[in-house]
Amino acid sequence: MAASLREKQVVAIKKILNLNAPLVNSSTTEPVWKVLVYDKYGQDVISPVLAVKELRDLGVTLHMPLHAVRNTVPDAPAIYLCVPSDDNLRRICQDLADNVYDSYYFNFLAPISRQKLELLATAALQANCAASIKKVFDQYVHFISLEKDMFVLRHHDNETTSYYALNRGDVKDTEMDVMINSMVDSLFAVCVTLGTVPIIRCPRNNAAEMVAERLDRRLRENVRDARSSLFSGETLAGGQYAFQRPLLVVLDRNMDLATPLHHTWTYQALAHDVLDLRLNRVTVEETVGEDERRQTKTKTFDLAPTDEFWQQHKGSPFPMVAEAVQEELDKYRASEGEVKQLKHAMGLDGESDEAISLLSDNTAKLTSAVSSLPELLERKRLIDAHTTIATAILEHIKRRKLDAYFETEEKLLSRAAPERPLVELLRDPEMGSAADALRLFLMHYVSAEEVSSTELEQCVQALSERGADLSAVQFAKRWRMYNRMPTSANQYLGGGTKTVNMFSKLMSQGSQFVMEGVKNLVVKKHNLPVTRIVDALMEQKSLPEVEEFRYLDPKLLRPPGSEAQGARSRNTFQEAVVFVVGGGNYIEYQNLVDYTKSKTGTATKRVIYGCSDLQNASQFLKQLGQLGTEMQ
């Protein structure tokens, strides 16, 4: 099976850490002790994929930020991983002047320009240590792999390419240029890491088109340059799909404003929405103690790829997660019981007669129990972590009635009438916070066919009574005028929920997750707009939205600017990379993963989801609010 994007990025990073030599997988080589110096972008790239233990295994004994105070460490090669910005280069030149390390291996996350290279060389000559700079590399790994098929471009400084920044009224051309270039750089890095030149499709007349055009130009230049092409190994790649090129779909957030505001019901998306989930790390606030002496403790948990429970359940609906945690807890208690029993049994068996075989059996069991103890402890730790996270999420759900919101929104999206009229729901003070009500209304407003002005007025009044910020509504009005795509009646096909009453087996088992009053909603499969578009493009179906998409192929021999009329590939695509300009979220990712799973069999598809940054609903709402206030 072909390797995923994250695996390829990890291999590239390990090569960097191995002093740019190919990895040799043996423990008989002598260890070389190194020092790793990174800036905040390098930190973002490395931290979700390599833990400190793995760094130690590779021989990195010390890792420090670039701009911290660093003392000399002689006799150790230093590996630098940073972007070649002016600040960083200044600090590097200072390092060279101070002669901090013995040998330097520079790896720049973005290609370093000729002038900056000369600057570096001058500084090295002045400090008389040009010989200790062993290697200078341009690394094309400037993106953050959060999951094995999901990537984000930036974490720090993600305001520079956010939805707000791209859609501001007063954005200057130069700023726009800078933003688009940074996105193109990272997308180019993704293509290089994957090792293939994709076929690009994008809608017209928005930021996505600009990104796609520039990427196309960049890829074309690189492919033409036979001497130093980064894609020369493409045709030698192994795997079944060596001759198939993937499809890169660049979409714009403006196409679908409803999904980021959606109240969701799957574990990972809920954690991102309700708690603080950043770079695969969750921060949970726990209140301990009685009412007077309440202390809030914050705990952080890492949701690593080795966490099996998380990998299995991050896309499941929340009630299933609660049950699964309960099951895991039971299984753990059973294994713990076994170990205790064994300990007991060992004491008795020493006096029996047929002991030798039994003894060796017991020894084997004992050694296996001893070696499985750390495993058990690890499982306990994971179960504890997930219990805490799930409890915190449950608190939020109960307090803000998120299940009711979810149900209403699903009904809205599938064009069924909600149980109570919308205005009443917005007025009801028990239903969550004002922000939740605002989200519900905005979702309805941007996705409904028609909204009568009376309804609009009533809702606006209800919202202002609740104290919600209405500038976002202004922006939504304008958006609706310009950007609404003609929605067909069955846009959100097949949605809808079944409400199952909660006399669950959870309560009968006396579990901690007493979900009283929380409806056990079962989500039916439906496709969000992003998924539908990707499906249409991959299967070469024709949908009205997709008709107008541009087709760009960097490998074709044509002067840029003219459209390739008949040279389109007619095959269906098996691999796709989806990129959303202006912010993405876990809901779309989960939807794409579900879509991929449903397409197993002869037509297995792989879809990689990427976005310029991850926004949860409250952050997105804030940006919409800012855009609305600026309009006035």
Binding site: E7, K8, Q9, V11, A12, K15, N20, L23, S27, T28, E30, P31, W33, V35, D44, I46, S47, P48, V52, K53, R56, G59, T61, L62, R70, N71, T72, V73, P74, A76, A97, N99, N107, I112, L117, T122, A124, L125, Q126, A127, N128, K135, V136, F137, D138, Q139, Y140, V192, S228, L230, G233, R281, T300, D302, G350, E351, I356, L359, S360, T367
Partner: protein
Amino acid sequence: MPSLDVQACRDRSGEFSAVVRALRERQQAAPAPAAAAARPAALSRHKEFMAVAKLIGRDISQTYSKLEKLTLLAKRRSLYEDRPMEIEELTRIIKQDMGSLNKQILQLQQLSRSPDGGKSVQSFSSNVVVTLQQKLANMSSQFKGVLEVRTENLRRQRSRREQFSRGGVSSNLPPSALSGFHQGSVLLADEAAARGDTVLELGADGQQQGQMLLMEEQDTYYQARSETMKNIESTVVELGAIFQQLAHMVHEQEEMVQRIDANVEDTSMNVEAAHSEILKYFQSVSSNRWLMVKVFGVLIVFFIVFVMFLT
């Protein structure tokens, strides 16, 4: 999975050295650049440390290759290709190596505690020691695994030999094994007492000559086997001691599951919080004129009281 090679980089080192050369020629006319910043010479202890660390690293990798050879040998299962002497020899050597490596690493740890160089050097040294300890721990556990495999194979071979030879000695362990030292196998000692009688009885049971010879042959064979078992036992026990020590040392510095951005965020958060607290306090202090008046008042009162008290 076959090993991936991902070419996601471009080597600019050639370009860099060309630029350096060009600039150097240009600078030939200009005055010679200043000498490199002098590094404090007091880092000699660190150099010593690094040299020892390199030696230990090399020893570990050599021992590792020996261990791999032993693994290959121990996995052989056929009855006739067995080379007990070689395996014994290798086991002994590896055991010695591990003991000496353990001592060396302890010494290295002592060296690393020297207050030399800056903070970076110290954390660097301690991390080097931890990594070496972990490597040794991994190797020890692998060694233990190999010994277990070997024991298993021995047992299996013994049972097969029993099947082929109908000497009918029904006990599972020969007497000589049971008379060995029992540090880790107290239970076996109990067995010994019970078992030993039966075997000797069988032996003294006036069997035919042929069977006696056969049994003697088997006896010597069993003795060799028992020696091996004894050695394995002692090795496992010693390994256990090493393990405990290693676990203690490794536990001292636990950073198993951290990520590199953990402390940075904490620290920056703390620094910001502290900064804001100080600012608040500063504001409260500087804007509190009454405080000054109060302080002066108290001082004057004390002064007066003091003066009156003295006079």
